[in-house]
Symmetry: C2
Subunit: 240 residues, 2 copies
Amino acid sequence: MSNPTAAMLVIGDEILSGRTRDANMYHLACALTKHGIDLTEVRVIADDPRAIAQTVRTLSDRYTHVFTSGGIGPTHDDITADNVARAFDTPIDVRSDARAILQAHYDRSGLEINEARLRMARIPAGATLIDNPISAAPGFTLGNVHVMAGVPAIFEAMLAGLLPTLTGGAPILSQSLEIHRGEGDIAGPLADLAARYPDLSFGSYPFQRNGAYGANIVIRGSKGAAVDAAMIELSGMFAE
Amino acid sequence: MSNPTAAMLVIGDEILSGRTRDANMYHLACALTKHGIDLTEVRVIADDPRAIAQTVRTLSDRYTHVFTSGGIGPTHDDITADNVARAFDTPIDVRSDARAILQAHYDRSGLEINEARLRMARIPAGATLIDNPISAAPGFTLGNVHVMAGVPAIFEAMLAGLLPTLTGGAPILSQSLEIHRGEGDIAGPLADLAARYPDLSFGSYPFQRNGAYGANIVIRGSKGAAVDAAMIELSGMFAE
């Protein structure tokens, strides 16, 4: 059985202009690997209604799960929820359950729930809410698309609640070895080793430190014994 | 005249598994914004031959430029060059100009140029080399696709040489204002302001600090006078 697959969709002009440095991709990649879901593709797109709807549709057809980040706040550039709804031809409006959550939050803070804040209660029909323990405004799951906030602390909190509800596969195990030779010397023996363990993946990540070349070789797979065996062989090849 | 557009394609299993945190996207986003090229989409995909060839073709058709990072080293998982060639139905082999560059580099280091290292001289027919002042192995430009290394120092050095050769547009100017109110209070007036300046883009990036909400409002556009005027209006609206 192969693991469930996933794509991530990061939505926001600010990432593409370099104004904001995305942190959610790295967080999601690590969390999904631990949970046994294979992140297979990431896309970053602008706050563009058609691009959002089309990309959601494409990724939703292709992968078990789609995780989005960004564009669900109260301002005019927060257009993710409406366009995810559009991708599924689903009606969207202020929903009473989401509104009640916001109302309770603003009552506690002594703030009025104005028109802008009410936009955050716009949830597509049939979607399940994703809890936001930080600033209340919920994310949602519609079909296989999980819509979450872009602010990293909120994205991470939403994901922490969501992930245990998703079926994972075998977590991918990995071991790495730092070899103090140039990749050009490692490449041949490494390719031979990789050919003998077709169920494992072998990556080579070069570095340069104090003027000397080296590489981290990473062996990954779902079977611990095979990863162990390959790593022992690799260590023997490059014993110093 | 609108600016040239660009997509970035990050290639590598290690980014998707969370083993490595990508740094090139942020660097490229900032560099292109300064150069007046609009980064419109980023994709991250695995070391998968078909995915690389198909995605290169799709992005090459859609944007003025495509910048790739990753997968041009000497190991078996470095398959970018071959699959970019495949995307354009172009033959690829060890090319004498690239081989001469590598030979000179390894002669200086006293290393032999073995079969693995020679893979880095595989360059598609008709491609222009991109200089690598750090570790010699060149990138290349084929059509509108610029193929560069994944190691951040090398990616940045290659880009620094490449970018001045590409025609840029009007650099996008931006100003930002930190407002100490919740986004829900900012959203209404901000949307009105945005509607009065249709040539500018207005972004709102919320934060939470010491328990208080706020947002950075960013106004962007190619006309400095318009950005100034909108910023003065914005400051007046939220004077404290």
